[in-house]
Amino acid sequence: MILTTLETVPGKTITQHLGLVQGSTVRAKHAGRDLMAGLKNIFGGELKGYTELLHESREEAINRMTEQAQSIGANAILNIRFSTSSITQGASELFTYGTAVKLD
């Protein structure tokens, strides 16, 4: 499975276009991390817990998208985009989408 943000994969031709695939996950922060983040709001600086949390969630979203692409018989996803939105206070949705294609 090739994942790329480009519109083509160099050296390969697209033989079949299979449409949009997407993956999303909604994550809430847990209370301990939230407390630490509250403290960090006084001192400033990086919130490592959140960075990791969001990174993991994004991998989860990518995995879901990849599964969807595999189930429709694609072997590459082109032009991948990410998007983040906060749904409620304390939870955010991580969304990723791309075009599933068959490459040769």
């Binding site: 480009l6 083509t8 050296g11 709001n41 006084i42 001192f43 600086g45 991948i80 985009r81 990410f82």
Partner: protein, 151 residues
Amino acid sequence: MFDLILFLILLALGFGFGQYLENQHYKSIIRRESSLKRIPAIATKHLPPEFTPCSTQMVCGNVVISIDFFKKFVAGMRSIVGGRVSSYESLIDRARREAILRMKEQAATLDANYVFNVKMETSSISKGRRNSIGSVEVLAYGTAISKKQAL
């Protein structure tokens, strides 16, 4: 009275630690930026044709950075008179540069020469009182290109 003292202590802590952490962060950003100069991040979608025998891999880097109490206070004051909010500018600048650096670091482990079609995504993670920005997340992502030697 107690509230006022607490507020002043928080302000002083925010000023002291915030400035220190920001300076340290900027130092580390500048150091790593110069060591990763060999991997340019390019926002173009299309690869030049001479690149064609190459391998591609998606890379991304993210960071969440929080504002300190002093800067938040200054930004609050600034919103009364209007104008440039330089305390938020430096926060977001740090976050963007850090995210790009992390993306490039990931590209460096893959022996990439370039990162093409770099996109950025910014979102505020926790909102404080009256919708003030507490912390921002920046995600930078792109496609790492490693040019193979012509056979």
